[in-house]
Symmetry: C2
Subunit: 122 residues, 2 copies
DNA sequence: CTGCAGTTTCGATAGATGTCTATGTTGACG
DNA sequence: CGTCAACATAGACATCTATCGAAACTGCAG
């Protein structure tokens, strides 16, 4: 093909979803529907065992980042791993960057802090 | 009836699931399959907007407890509310107690602390 | 240019989940 | 005892989701 412009459209749904400036602590006041919708996305992303293992693997990896090949050993096929990493990315919990052959994922530290605040006791 | 022993059988599946003594911080080391399975249950329970609103409503209510009638206004039918409260209970996030006509739900404070620890930064 | 390894995307499918209506249970009150 | 109100359970249904194999894409090395 030798094309040089093969991706004319980039879905904005691919964006990091801005999960950081999220919400008040859960026990401060009842969540509104909108707050709940936004916050539930993050919890839901961590609500799958495979995703939780992938997230933990990235978070605990040296330098806070890991390439897919480092963490693919979670008992499911490689496309499934990719699928879950995408979900975590869409939830704003991970970011990715391609360096040569490999793709590296890293955790967004501010997100961990934000979720910690959610669970703070009044 | 004036009975004193009317509940002969109580499913153990109804038990609080012992969510408290859970796991090390997510970023300490990669989770094992078993740890992930256990921990994901809690995140999953909070991964639904309606459940999150119900949980927030209970957590922020005076005294840390609320009767169902106080928090049922989340836009779904009454059986659905009951269903979600049951899920939260099974996940070990809420406990319930009947007092007369009303059933009161309250948060397990230790659970919030445990989940907060999960998200602690290394 | 061609092949290869790492990664993502696509299409399909089985199982899980959220929601409803209808019905059951429990306690309070005449 | 009868009725009403507060919750819970049961069953049905539509939608979502996790998973896989196959195929496409990307960068690197001959």
């Amino acid at each position: 093909m030798s094309n040089a412009k093969a991706l004319p459209l980039l879905e904005p749904s691919e964006a990091p979803a801005a999960a950081v400036p999220c919400c008040p602590p859960l026990s401060e006041r009842p969540f509104t529907a909108e707050e709940a919708e936004r916050t539930a996305r993050m919890f839901k992303a961590l609500g799958d065992p495979v995703r939780l293992r992938l997230f933990s693997a990235v978070a605990s990896h040296e330098g806070g980042e890991a390439c897919v090949c480092d963490i693919s050993d979670v008992g499911v096929s490689q496309p499934t791993v990719s699928h879950h990493l995408k979900k975590l990315k869409e939830a704003g919990l991970l970011t990715s960057e391609r360096r040569g052959t490999w793709v590296y994922y890293r955790v967004e530290p501010s997100v961990l802090a934000a979720m910690g605040q959610l669970l703070a006791v009044r």
